[in-house]
Symmetry: C2
Subunit: 448 residues, 2 copies
């Protein structure tokens, strides 16, 4: 769809006050696109457009607005409208929304809703952040195991309209324990009088309310599911999580890993919506730790000052050695961290990984050191001793960096730390120290 | 499920040769778990277990085996079995599988299938790698717009059993152009005699066969879809892509970004399944480029050799300056790269981003430089001149690194390069050069 043209057309209808046409035009659009359009509207038009939307669409559109616009709208509309809005939203969307609002807004909204909804919302708000409970929804279809296919289908036609998904039905026993799932396709194809318990699938994959959302995403991805049921400690069904929410979790977890690997504290907000002060605060802690740990490299250099004073030329190779070592270590750690995140590598593979990285280091080191030797010997004419010292140091640095880079994330995993924390900046700092020590030790052997 | 115990029980049944019980036990498991179990079986048991599985399950299990095991099995079974297997598999799984097999195996498999399947597979194999066409499936339900809800439902019961999803139905016109989608829930709730064209949703979101899989993932995520239709250049429906495949694409694209950001060439295989030689090959190119670019930092140091000879102590600060600069640049670039990937940041935001990073740099720089000044002045007693030179250099380095780190990915995007290529190693190298120049220029002003 040509979104520029669409925007112009809608703008024109607003200007001309042609509300009926505007409603018609809006209804041709996807809710996401309507929300995107509304995000750029001025306050006075925002409310008008929102009220023009058919009721069943406006709640969906509202869920897709960003937090700022949501708050703006809530402040503009009356209590009755708020109540209708929250009732029309899926419970998980409503909870997500409330989690981001200031306390005063939350209070006003909860006062406007009826007691049942308020209790449900309060219960959901109590689940820990990033737990399965906090992202699940209760709009699913459940049936008791004793009923027939026909009864289930009739029931579904009556009650299914408000559910987030009706394509997987959940079968529970007397004590509400989840005992099977039934794909709608299977139900449709089944004879009318078949008991659901005879056609249901009993190999149920589920998660617990307190499981981390990362576990949820891993499980859904592993079993290629479109929805996953959430049960409490007594195996009673309490909610479901749908694939679209899982995709958001996957991207969120990946963003967190990217951030950790770049020595950032994870942030919850989009980059452009985070204040410069908050950005600075998220970056400071690791920068300070890493900067202070560089005191060690400084101390090593100071220790070998005598050597450097006699051969100032050696200083010129320090950045190349440290840089290459850092890059080699980052390569190894990134692959291992990623492998761990995707479940392709485990702690028990440590020796296998180390052996592999040792081999890779030998090969890569040979190529890089060889190239450096040739360059120094024949291009820069640095002399045999310097060329040998630098290229042998480089070789050892590469092999060491690969070993450090692959081992640290595995050990972090072992002691239940996030492997992503052991990524390039931390490894670079360690590798800096090793490469300087290697360089100076080899240099002082040969050149003093 | 306790997978260790499950494994032991299955092993025992295999040892005892109790094939019927074994089949029963297998049927209690999810296909993914069966495939996981089979992955560790010896050759002689592999074939036996595979043949014991009910036909409708074995094709699914096969799709979840890893490439090595698939090939092993294909080499063990007869042509008739191959034909049945390929017929039972979803076309997208069959194509994925064939793409990974050696040519000789592919030839044998294609010879075993009937002409219709062979033609379809060949057509799919022709779509470029990572295009929407290459990951779509043809097992969807389509209806012409003229029929009624009752007809559609009856039709579905007859033909839906083999489809990957029947929850979204696709409505086409005479020329096979996609004109709407119909959620199964809507069809079920509709009166029998309603025409599908009156109840279908005409705001169809679709992708083209040649669209990149990243576009597919972005669209599905944006609109929270469970399936997305794929159309050709004439808007004719040719396939669909389901959410589980999109999740794999998301993880694949993220892995690629992680790899690029760590100066690795992207690889297709899991870490432990890639040979050491291949790993070395993927790492070499960028390492060599970055290593050679470090010649510049070396040249800068050589140029200022006179300065360093007079004040060898300054050398000790080089790693700290370069390291902190590199980390600052990596932080900024990571946030911008991630923002670009998630569509939260665009090229038109360049000035906004730069302004923001400038502010962040001022704040972060103040904290780091202040800390360093205090440390040098009072803890190491390095004297006022050195303390000032180092901390002012640090301040400028931080501000510069942030600016470079945020700008490069945006410009890469502008000229249609992958922003992830502009990540930490490349930025570190640039930052190294800047920080050295800043340091030496300030030092030679004040200390000569």
């Amino acid at each position: 769809m040509n979104s520029e043209r669409m925007k112009e057309r809608l703008d024109a209808l607003i200007q001309l006050g042609r509300h009926n046409e505007l409603r018609g035009a809006m209804m041709m659009l996807n809710e996401v696109d309507i929300a995107e359009y509304m995000a750029e509207l001025k306050k006075e038009h925002l409310l008008m457009v929102f009220r023009i939307l058919p009721k069943d669409i406006s709640a969906d559109v509202f869920a897709y607005l960003d937090d700022e616009k949501k708050q703006e709208l809530i402040e503009l509309i009356g209590d009755g409208e708020i109540r209708a809005l929250i009732d029309d939203m899926f419970l998980d969307d409503a909870v997500d929304f409330l989690e981001e609002m200031p306390a005063s807004v939350v209070r006003r909204i909860l006062q406007s809703t009826d007691e049942h909804t308020r209790n449900l919302i309060n219960q959901f708000l109590r689940y820990p952040e990033n737990s399965a409970g906090s992202i699940m929804t209760i709009e699913y279809c459940e049936f008791h195991q004793g009923i027939t296919a026909r009864q289930a289908l009739d029931n579904l036609k009556r009650t299914g309209i408000d559910k987030e998904t009706i394509y997987t039905l959940y079968i529970i026993d007397q004590s509400r324990r989840l005992c099977g799932t039934l794909a709608l396709r299977r139900l449709i194809m089944a004879p009318d009088d078949a008991l659901v318990e005879t056609i249901m699938d009993t190999t149920v994959i589920s998660v617990k309310t307190l499981d981390d959302q990362e576990t949820v995403a891993d499980t859904v991805r592993k079993y290629d599911l479109l929805t996953i049921p959430v049960v409490d400690n007594e195996e009673r069904l309490v909610g479901i999580i749908t694939a679209d929410d899982v995709m958001d979790v996957i991207e969120e977890e990946n963003t967190e890993d990217f951030e950790k690997m770049a020595a950032l504290l994870p942030s919850d907000d989009e980059y452009l919506k985070t204040s410069a002060f908050q950005l600075a605060k998220n970056r400071m802690p690791w920068l300070i730790v890493l900067m202070l740990s560089a005191i060690l490299t400084g101390a090593i250099i100071t220790h070998f000052e005598g050597l450097l004073a006699g051969a100032v030329g050696l200083t010129a190779f320090i950045p190349m050695l440290m840089g290459t070592g850092g890059n080699c270590g980052a390569q190894a750690s990134t692959l291992v961290i990623r492998g761990l995140a995707l479940g392709e590598v485990q702690f028990k593979d440590t020796l296998k990984v180390l052996w592999r990285e040792f081999h890779v280091g030998l090969m890569v080191g040979l190529a890089l050191a060889g190239l450096t030797f040739l360059r120094l010997m024949f291009l820069s004419q640095s002399g045999l001793t310097v060329s040998l010292v630098v290229s042998i140091s480089l070789y050892c640095t590469v092999v060491f960096s690969k070993a450090i880079g692959c081992t640290l994330p595995l050990f972090a995993k072992r002691i239940n730390l996030d492997p992503a924390l052991m990524a390039s900046p931390l490894i670079t700092t360690l590798v800096d120290i090793c490469s300087l020590l290697i360089f100076f030790m080899i240099a002082s052997q040969w050149m003093l």
